[in-house]
């Protein structure tokens, strides 16, 4: 959290009514996790396995009469193999004020650190841009760092408008020298470069309009500020060794996301247009990208309570081979989601991502099941194969892994 956001949070906390809290809750979870890599690593210093302990606690306090609430959610992970994966983050720490303005609708003000998700698709989250990826957590990029912000949200009959002032930038986390799932050259996170002279104090702006009309849910979004995706430029660290230096540029991005829900079908689309981002060759290139697909669910298969969902999505990037994503500009995704609908909430998701123009592919499996009231067992596996030598995936070709986790929730 930046000093500015902290000050804003404290000021709004001080200004709030001193009345006793109506509700105070402390909840959270703690997990033990182990990850095994069956293949010898390619890069020096990397390990064959890791063990990790992590957890988060949520403190929530609400003053119903005044419409105020405070949420604080710190996260910490200890990791045995990579010191960079041992890290702390304030995932959330915000003050929320809800106010009805009779004619104008219901206003929500958030001040502090929060997480915001935009989008509908499963294989990639294109339009989602508010929060930085906490990449050391998992390679699927689903974990995010807390973002300091001021947010105003108004819900009306004709839709919802969200306005964001993003006060302070979060750098992406990257695995260190001993970590797996990294590029051949380690990303040096000590000396990030910025296009803006304000560096990580640059203030970004974002806006979103979203609405649901019958079967259609859609959102239009716009972002101006520091790109969450750094270009990785070759450079030297302080000792003169070759490293990659993250370079964060100023970008403009427009986004659209939509889902049409009919019967067992979910039809999904996300598209973005971005200016100001370096491509793979290190040139600034405007581009657009899209992901379109569906999810179809067979409910109650074989006369049971079990559901089977089939997912397919196509990912396109107009930069084609100049796309600096982990696959090239054209990829297809297929997945199967099995939900047991049993008292233990047993779930299994299988995914397959294929680069259309190269043999590069990625398989993954995620499964989880609750035991008793408080314990959850989770399993995850990743396989990368068929990687061309010039692909980003080539560095990960020996990083297949299987991971087991035990979580206690309270």
């Amino acid at each position: 959290m930046t000093r500015g956001a902290l000050a804003a949070l404290l000021i709004s906390a001080a200004a709030a009514s001193p009345a006793a809290a109506d509700e105070l809750e402390i909840t959270g979870n703690i997990s033990a996790e182990t990850r095994l890599f069956p293949f010898e690593p390619i890069h020096k210093g990397q390990r064959r396995h890791l063990a990790s302990l992590y957890g988060e606690v949520e403190y929530y306090q609400e003053w119903t009469d005044s419409g105020d609430s405070l949420t604080i959610k710190p996260f910490y992970r200890y990791d045995s193999s990579d010191p960079r994966r041992t890290h702390f983050d304030l995932r959330e720490a915000f003050w929320l004020k809800v106010m009805d303005v009779e004619e104008l609708g219901r206003f929500e003000f958030r001040t502090g650190v929060d997480k915001v998700f935009w989008g509908v698709t499963e294989s990639i989250h294109l339009v989602d841009i508010i929060n930085q990826t906490d990449l050391v957590e998992y390679p699927d990029r689903e974990e995010k760092l807390g973002q300091p912000m001021l947010q105003l949200s108004v819900a009306r009959d004709w839709g919802t408008v969200d306005l964001f002032v993003l006060t302070g930038f979060r750098e992406r986390t990257f695995p260190g020298r001993s970590g797996r799932l990294r590029s051949a050259l380690v990303v040096n996170t000590d000396t990030p470069q910025y296009e803006s002279g304000a560096e990580d104090r640059h203030i970004d702006f974002a806006a979103r309009y979203s609405h649901a009309i019958d079967e259609l849910d859609f959102g239009l979004s716009w972002f101006r500020g520091t790109s969450r995706d750094p270009a990785l430029l070759p450079g030297r660290d302080r000792g003169g060794g070759l490293v990659l230096i993250p370079f964060y540029q100023q970008i403009d991005q427009g986004g659209i996301d939509a889902q049409y829900t009919t019967g067992p079908w979910l039809l999904k689309f996300e598209g973005l247009y971005r200016e100001g981002q370096l491509n793979r060759s290190g040139k600034e290139q405007r581009y657009w990208a899209s992901v379109a697909g569906f999810e179809y669910t067979f409910f109650g298969i074989f006369g049971s309570n079990m559901d089977l969902g089939v997912l397919a999505e196509h990912i396109f990037d107009s930069r084609d081979e100049e796309a600096n994503t982990f696959f090239f500009g054209n990829a297809a995704f297929a997945g199967v989601r099995w939900t047991a609908n049993d008292p233990q909430d047993t779930e299994l998701l299988f995914g397959y991502l294929q680069d259309v123009n190269t043999p590069g592919k990625n398989f993954f499996v995620e499964a989880s099941r609750r035991f008793g009231d408080s314990w959850t067992l989770s399993l995850e596996a990743q396989i990368v194969s068929g990687t061309a030598s010039d692909s980003f995936l080539a560095d990960l070709r020996r990083d297949d892994y299987i991971q087991l986790g035990w979580t206690y929730s309270f």
Binding site: A155, S210, P343
Partner: protein, 273 residues
């Protein structure tokens, strides 16, 4: 999600329908009334008596799932219901336990005709997902209740046929058969026991697609709120095929809490705790 199955009020039925039904109840059907017309009249009267509650909140709901061996697991949740007069009701459900799904919330706009609209909120990723609601016969969170058992019970969702009068645990009841007209129901028919005095649903037998008795739902501990609206403290669903059962406890009903439509949108879903 609350069944309007738990409808009825205590006022003597002075309405036209009420008189007609009361007369029918005491005597053989009069004139041109067919069993279908009588069945519809009973359902309509039950619905009329439960109209106008506005909104209510049940802070402490508990679901106890029991398998054939008697092993139990439970869920704790909260529900907010907002009455929509010209369509199905809106409701918001938030899970509190088990803790790994705490904060998971479900927003439903029920419709008299066609699929409901449903959004699911996943707190870990702060994501709102519009989900398919065509899965009417599917289990609600692993329980013996299907989504269609719990959604807003609108008159238009069934056709009816009055079967007989019968005493159930000492209460005089109408026994009415009803047939789902919406798509993807898991049932061919349901048999409903409404008590004659208050038009409260006392029991429902559910028959599966093969026509066999699948489940029985019973209502317990009815209490009256706002001098009009009857709500049960406990509902028990027994599955005759699997031997599993689910007890659903409704503790602390609060009516007319001042909720508005603004409390039932995607923003309020994200804020639900």
């Amino acid at each position: 999600m609350l069944s309007k199955d738990l409808r009825p009020l205590n006022r003597p039925a002075f309405g036209l329908f009420g008189l007609a039904v009361a007369a029918l109840a005491l005597t053989a059907p009069v004139g041109a009334s067919t069993p279908e017309q009588i069945g519809l009249e009973i359902a309509t009267e039950a619905d009329r008596r439960d109209t106008g509650f506005g909104d209510y909140v049940v802070e402490d709901m508990k679901m106890v799932l029991r398998n054939r061996q008697g092993q139990e697991s439970s869920r704790e949740l909260q529900i907010k219901i907002f009455e929509v007069l010209d369509d199905g009701d809106k409701n918001l459900i938030v899970f509190d336990r088990p803790r790994d799904i705490k904060g998971t919330a479900l927003l439903t706009f029920a419709h008299k005709v066609g699929d409901d609209d449903q959004w699911l909120y996943l707190p870990a990723v702060k994501r709102v997902k519009r989900i398919s609601s065509s899965n009417k016969s599917g289990s609600f969170v692993g329980s013996e209740f299907a989504y269609e058992d719990l959604t807003s019970q609108e008159i238009e969702k069934y056709t009816y046929k009055y079967l007989r009068d019968e005493s159930l645990d000492g209460l005089d009841c109408f026994v009415v058969e009803r047939y789902p007209v919406y798509e993807n129901s898991g049932y061919t028919r349901q048999v409903v026991w409404w008590d004659k005095a208050e038009y409260r649903v006392m029991k429902v037998d559910y028959y599966d697609r093969k026509g066999d008795l699948l489940k029985t739902l019973t209502y317990h501990g009815y209490q009256q709120y706002l001098d009009q609206y009857w709500r049960a403290d406990k509902m028990v669903m027994v599955n005759h095929l699997t031997g599993k059962s689910t007890d659903l406890f409704w503790n602390n009903y609060v009516f007319r809490t001042g909720l508005s439509e603004r409390d039932f949108n995607r923003n309020s879903l994200k804020r639900a705790k």
